[in-house]
Amino acid sequence: MTQQILNAIFIGSIYALFAVGYTLVFGVLDVLNLAHSAVFMLGAVITYSLVALHGMPFLPAAVIAVLVCGLLGLLIEFVALRPLRRRNAPPISALISTIGLALIFVAIVEQANPGSFFSWLWQDGANSVRFPAGAVPNPTFHVLGLTIEGTKLLILITAVVLMLVLGYVIRFTQLGRALRAVAENRRAATLLGIQVDRIFASTLFLSSALGGLAGLLFGLAISDISPYIGRDQVELKGLAVIVLGGMGSIPGAVLGGYLLGLIEVLAFVRFGSNVEAGVAFAALFLVLVIRPQGLFGARLRERL
């Protein structure tokens, strides 16, 4: 059972890391960025590409992948979000256009085979791969009959540290104050001299870099890198997590991530896989009945 709770903490960390980026964009822009799962996938794919196809050591590859994912965030802002915002399109339009971008990102990877245009990025088409053996050290500790993997420990530490850093940035820095001002009232923030467009771009960069990081850590810990890891395995769960935590709340996303991981694992152990998802979403439903705004969902203007 203790092993299963450890399993829950690790998978919860991945849900949390993914959901933090998701909820950040929602908190500031009031838009659900459904391309986030594709960026998550690209974080893993780009790191894999640099390590396995271009012979780069893991650490610099990971840094480059995170930065590239941040830049993809800017692409999402400039291509899918800003043009619609300029036309005062409703948030649902932005949601649809991010779905479009996600489909394009996934298609680029799944169609990439040796000899194709994107073969420098990916050569395995729809297949699932793992990092080459020995590319990343993964010491496994056996303590008191429990198995603890280095990579999963790394995820846990990364998730906690990033949450603290993000909390600090939002609470105590100039950028954070601007973010909160924009989240509270876009027009007032503009009147105060805050360049709203720049804040939006920074938010997308930050959120996507986090998403990419979550993706590469997922690929590392789960030994599964494919065009579909974002869409199939974290997208809906990430959505559940941010609803559970309170839309736009960062601490809520973190807590929600761990909670969903725990509920899922306990449901699996106790009832088996037929009800695993059912129990998780029933718990979500219950939380929403009792607290419609989610666990940490404050009134709109306080949500960051």
Partner: protein, 400 residues
């Protein structure tokens, strides 16, 4: 929808017969000259089955190129239209519908997954188009494609070795030498291929003296297999049976080794691709399964295929490529003998179907014939992953 499609087929057939009427009295082989044999394939090039579909496609294309390059089928060229079903049952049926509505196809191949075959095969049967399954190994594929109705489907064939033959042969082979006492079954419960395999394992283990300690079911969309694997490993079994597809068997092996499992992995058709062997890497070494094909078989129809495949594609063929290649050879052989008119499409389809029943040719899988149930009857190759993305042969089993 169906009546609409039928109407289109009839109109097209009439139009084609009007064209064909200008060459009366031509002998059967001459009437093939300059004609095209249209075939359609429904494959999972993307999605969960994307591990298998592209291999099938490469094998098929290789055979098509080979046949067309050496004079075609009595002079007729084969045109193969491959459509992706994204590993989705509904999309698979939709794609099949689209192909059928084109009206000129003589035969279909696929779909990749048993899960989709349930939707596609009855459709082909109702339109009286011969369909040859190239990778579906679940139960109730042939002849009872309309299961739970048991009347045999006349137009459905398969050249892929069923799990009902392969899994028991594999378990028996392992049990005869290693005498394991206990096992845990890990099975994806939201996929027909996987759950069929699970049922076959459950029905087979006790005959081989193995006690099944637990059946751990999971969803094929599970992100982290740590949880189900922990549940299995804690029972301390001698054997973990895995019936699942895509990258999942590899992920389970990796996770189980991390958690200290040192026993044997036994599985089904989901093990039999180099992609899965490569992903599992050293953690998959020794994982054993029954396969329809073995790469290092030296009989000419296999070595020629392997050589041609390597010359055209980067890397080695796998079982799915071999079955795809064999499928085109089977259809070409049947078409050659079917005395096709190229004017009466529905009639040609029935002729092709009739000719398929008497196919008897050499393929990379070995000498190929259909049983009276349209299933394949062939040698089973028991293979193990070699830890480097390949396989080694344990033994060959001739079914009784």
């Amino acid at each position: 929808m169906r009546t609409g499609a039928r109407a289109i087929v009839v109109v097209l057939a009439l139009a084609l017969s009007a064209c064909g009427a200008s060459a009366p009295g031509a002998s059967s082989s001459n009437s093939y000259q300059g004609k095209t044999i249209h075939l359609g394939a429904i494959l999972s090039l993307t999605g969960a089955g994307g591990v298998y579909g592209p291999s099938s496609q490469k094998g098929m294309q290789l055979a098509v190129d080979k046949i067309n390059g050496s004079g075609g089928v009595n002079g007729a060229q084969i045109a193969l239209d491959v459509k992706d079903d994204n590993s989705d049952k509904a999309q698979s049926a939709q794609v099949a519908q689209t192909l059928i509505q084109q009206g000129q196809l003589l035969g279909l191949l696929g779909p990749t997954l048993s899960n989709s075959a349930v939707a596609v095969h009855p459709l082909a049967e109702s339109f009286k188009i011969p369909i040859l399954a190239v990778s579906t190994t679940g139960i109730h594929i042939v002849p009872d494609c309309n299961y739970p109705k048991t009347d045999p489907c006349k137009y459905v064939f398969r050249d892929s070795l069923g799990e009902e033959s392969a899994i028991p042969a594999n378990i028996k082979t392992y049990a005869d030498t290693a005498h394991p006492k206990t096992g845990v079954l890990m099975v994806a419960n939201d996929d027909k291929f996987s759950s069929d395999g699970g049922k076959i394992v459950q029905n087979t283990v006790s005959q081989n003296g193995i006690q099944l300690l637990d059946t751990v079911q999971f969803s094929k969309t599970t992100a982290d297999f740590a949880t189900p694997v922990t549940k299995a490993v804690q029972k301390k079994p001698d054997v973990i049976f895995i019936t699942s597809l895509g990258g999942i068997p590899a992920k389970i092996m990796i996770e189980a080794r991390k958690q200290g499992f040192t026993g044997q992995f036994l599985g089904g058709n989901g093990f039999n691709t180099a992609v899965v062997s490569k992903q599992a890497g050293a953690d998959g070494k020794g994982a054993q399964s029954g396969s329809a094909w073995y790469i290092n078989n030296t009989f000419a129809s296999n070595s020629g295929f392997v050589q041609a495949y390597r010359a055209k594609n980067s890397g080695d063929p796998d079982q799915f490529a071999a079955q795809g290649y064999a499928a085109i050879l089977i259809l070409a052989d049947a078409a050659k003998r079917a005395n096709l008119t190229f004017s009466d499409i529905p009639g040609d389809r029935t002729k092709l179907r009739d000719a398929m029943e008497s196919v008897n040719i050499d393929t990379p899988l070995g000498r190929f014939q259909f049983t009276s149930n349209h299933d394949v009857k062939q040698t089973i190759w028991i293979i193990q992953m070699d830890g480097n993305g390949g396989f080694t042969l344990v033994k060959s089993v001739t079914p009784s």
